[in-house]
Symmetry: C2
Subunit: 153 residues, 2 copies
């Protein structure tokens, strides 16, 4: 079996999962520090999606850490397919959430900042969208590496 860097059970894969966890948590935190997000559907959607992405990436972070440190790599094709499809679905969802948040924030800024959101709040929304984009990027990368590994199995 080939060793594909970045796939399940490698140290690069562990780094990808760590990035995913950190950025999705940061996105959720920036969005939830004020409770004003209830007013906008797009922000509620981002919170929901990040609430799905965080437990998923923490679980796989634990699996990867276990594989790296105990040197026991769990690589059944069926398990890999499940992880791959979960990654794909979550990366589509988090891209959708990031785009919605970014466009709504852009519109709020355009529509005369002061009346809808203060400058501080708007920049917090922007940061949250940027973190969601980074989290999407990491989850897409790890799903591509896992796809590569699945093809080589």
């Amino acid at each position: 079996m080939d060793e594909v860097p970045g796939s399940l059970g490698t140290s690069a894969g562990l780094a990808l999962r760590l990035g995913q966890t950190v950025f999705s948590s940061a996105s959720l935190l920036y969005m939830c520090l004020d409770v004003e997000f209830y007013s906008y559907t797009a922000f509620c959607y981002l919170v929901t999606v990040m609430g799905l992405v965080i437990p998923w990436s923490i679980t796989l972070l634990v699996v990867d850490a276990y594989s790296v440190f105990v040197k026991c790599v769990p690589r059944q094709p069926r398990m890999l397919s499940i992880i791959l499809s979960g990654d794909m679905v979550l990366s589509y969802l988090s891209l959708a959430a990031a785009c919605s948040t970014a466009s709504v924030t852009d519109l709020l800024l355009d529509a005369g900042g002061g009346s809808y959101c203060t400058a501080k709040l708007c920049s917090r929304y922007q940061l949250s969208a940027a973190m969601a984009f980074l989290s999407w990027f990491f989850s897409l990368t790890s799903s591509l590496f896992n796809l590569w590994l699945l093809r080589s199995l």
Copy 2:
């Protein structure tokens, strides 16, 4: 070689490409019938993405129609990989565009319809977003079938 229904060169694949072409053109038309979309970044993005999706799906529609009617199926793995990656990238882009449009339209409707967009214009934006979602769905489906075919090659 297995015959995977829905993949490149089958009649189901032709139907998928046809749906993709129709829905992306409809989305572009609904958005462009008025020229007010220049005011919003999300709408400009939708127009750009649909301008990429339409030529791509028309090209593959022609390839599929040729394969179905002439019974000559062009299935080199390299060509299939290029088509698959194009489908993947365009499906991510069109999902992003659809989500941005949907969330901006939702916000415009919430922020007191009359002042930002008339009811007719807003419902046109909603239709455009719905068509973009359908086009994304078709392009995701055909990329999944092509992935299946690529695995079986």
